[in-house]
């Protein structure tokens, strides 16, 4: 005998919302709120602040995929939280990586140039949002072999780490037409065949065909990536197996298009730190937020400032910062922001990133963000502020250590006094040059870590990294 259970209104949440597993700081669940294209208005920002205060101990962090992550979420409150997110049109990552098999992968928040449409006419955020709408909750794309990461840039450079995405769409203008050069097969986690940077497909996809193009790539991943095991299920493995030529052929077969061949092997570097002029004569200003760590109070303050000094909208950045747009007077904005934020505008503070290993439980003290803060302080004491430090708490590389100028990844180290939290120190990574970092020294902790970090800084400052290889 079977009894049907009516799930009623709950059905609208299935496939759109999920809680992730935490195992640190006494948090059991996190909520990773996808912010489409990283663009959020003051009203939604206040509502997320309210969620943080009610359900997440007032804590919030900006992730390096332009999402906002809350912790200490009690699963008993999940339906209330989902209803509030549903009302404002937001969804969450599906966190299918918890399954042991190659299944239930979803399209993650699509990383998008934070100044899309503001410093050039090429506004890639419309397409990014359209694709987000299409994939969110769409049953045809909720059981991918593994998660799928997409990035878009249209500012003329790579401000989004295209090369670490399954497909990174590099916006260019070619013979007077807007479109994209796709880079495919990036993923720097430990899964097979190891940390891999995306490769250019060497084609030009006109803007009008980009939606169908990305959809086709996701479908190729869904239909052809290995389901044999979780470790082999990322798209990079298929790209490695087929080669870029094979992937290109399958995409063209699927879309029926024949894309023009172009010779673009690397994106140009770009960042949107500090302030600058928009095409409409107004300004943008990026507030450095080390590690993306914010609070309900700070989110509300940011919302107030966005309304007071701009259009009420802010953009979250892939470097975990917050960019104010449509600002009339940057100095006035900065004066106001300095009431709450300690503003230090250096590459060190803008471009360093750290993952949430303190919450996921992959590290013991010092956690990824702690070690980042410690090394940033160390650099500043020595007057060094032009380096970037990327810290991951584990080989899954959420802190992108493989593409850091300086990278750190946690590892447990056996000592005479027992197991301690150590870090491998890496150097020379570059996401725009599509260059993986090399190991400087492994298993460092305590004073040894600081000492080796010092030596590495010296080599970087002397420009002698090549000799260190």
């Amino acid at each position: 005998m079977e009894i049907s259970i009516d799930i009623g209104d709950i059905g609208k949440f299935v496939g759109r919302y999920s809680l992730g597993r935490d195992n640190g700081q006494n948090s059991l669940h996190f909520l990773r709120i996808k912010v489409p294209a990283g663009q959020v208005d003051s009203d939604r920002l206040r509502k997320i602040a309210d969620l943080s205060r009610r359900y997440g101990r007032g804590y919030a962090e900006v992730t390096d995929r332009q999402s906002i992550q809350l912790h200490w979420i009690d699963s008993d409150n999940a339906l209330e939280i989902f209803e509030r997110l549903y009302e404002i049109g937001y969804s969450t990552d599906m966190c299918g990586q918890a399954f042991s098999g190659a299944c239930m992968g979803d399209v993650r928040n699509i990383v998008t140039c934070p100044l899309s449409g503001k410093i050039s006419e090429f506004d890639v955020s419309d397409l990014s949002k359209k694709l987000t709408d299409f994939f969110t909750g769409n049953p045809d794309y909720l059981d991918l072999p593994r998660k799928f990461k997409i990035a878009f840039t249209g500012c003329g450079g790579d401000c989004v780490r295209l090369g670490i995405n399954d497909v990174g769409m590099y916006g260019i203008t070619h013979n007077g037409e807007r479109g994209y050069v796709p880079f495919v097969g990036g993923s720097i986690g430990a899964s097979f065949p190891g940390p891999t940077l995306a490769k250019s497909l060497g084609i030009f996809v006109p803007e009008s065909q980009a939606f169908e193009f990305v959809k086709a790539v996701v479908e190729i991943h869904r239909d052809f990536s290995s389901r044999e095991s979780k470790a082999k299920a990322r798209f990079k493995n298929l790209v490695n197996e087929w080669g870029t030529e094979g992937v290109r052929e399958e995409i063209e077969r699927k879309t029926g298009a024949e894309y023009e061949r172009v010779n673009v092997e690397n994106p140009r570097p770009a960042h949107h730190n500090g302030h600058g002029t928009q095409i409409d004569g107004l300004y943008y200003y990026t507030l450095p937020v080390l590690g993306g760590v914010l609070s309900a109070e700070k989110l509300e303050f940011i919302a107030d400032m966005a309304e007071k000094h701009g259009s009420g909208e802010v953009r979250l950045t892939p470097e975990q910062n917050v960019t104010f747009v449509d600002v009339a007077d940057v100095n006035a904005l900065k004066r106001d922001l300095s009431r709450i934020f300690e503003i230090r505008e250096s590459r060190l503070r803008y471009s360093s990133i750290g993952c949430a290993s303190d919450f996921c439980g992959k590290t013991k003290e010092p956690h990824a963000k702690e070690i980042m803060q410690k090394l940033v302080d160390h650099c500043e004491k020595r007057g060094i502020d032009d380096v970037a430090i990327f810290v991951s708490g584990c080989r899954n590389a959420c802190g992108c250590h493989h593409v850091g100028q300086i990278g750190l990844v946690a590892r447990a180290v056996k000592t005479e006094r027992g197991v301690v939290q150590g870090y491998d120190l890496l150097y020379g990574g570059s996401f725009t040059e599509l260059k993986l970092a090399k190991v400087w020294k492994e298993g460092l902790y305590g004073e040894d870590l600081i000492r080796e970090f010092e030596k590495l800084l010296e080599v970087i400052r002397n420009g002698t990294e090549a000799k260190a290889d």
Partner: protein, 80 residues
């Protein structure tokens, strides 16, 4: 989405929530428990966070709970 409670013994039911991420196995289990007057509910989940959380949450609510791994999934037995 259709959720079915299958009777496996005179006083025992099975709920298969495989493929659902946290917190839906918990939410669906609670809906299923409302349908059962008394007896045993066996929930099948392949989601590790839910396999961790379900026994914690249900014991907090006063249920007797046993959990066992069966290949690639867990069977969580709840007595009402």
């Amino acid at each position: 989405m259709e959720l079915k409670l299958r009777q496996i013994e005179s006083d025992a039911f099975e709920l298969d929530v495989r493929g659902n991420t946290c917190p839906f196995p918990q939410i669906f289990t609670e809906l299923a428990l409302k349908k059962i007057d008394r007896g045993r509910l066996e929930v099948i989940t392949d989601n590790p966070p839910s396999a961790r959380d379900l026994p914690i949450v249900l014991k907090r609510r006063g249920y007797r709970v046993e959990s066992e791994k069966e290949g690639d999934h867990w069977r969580i037995k709840i007595w009402k």
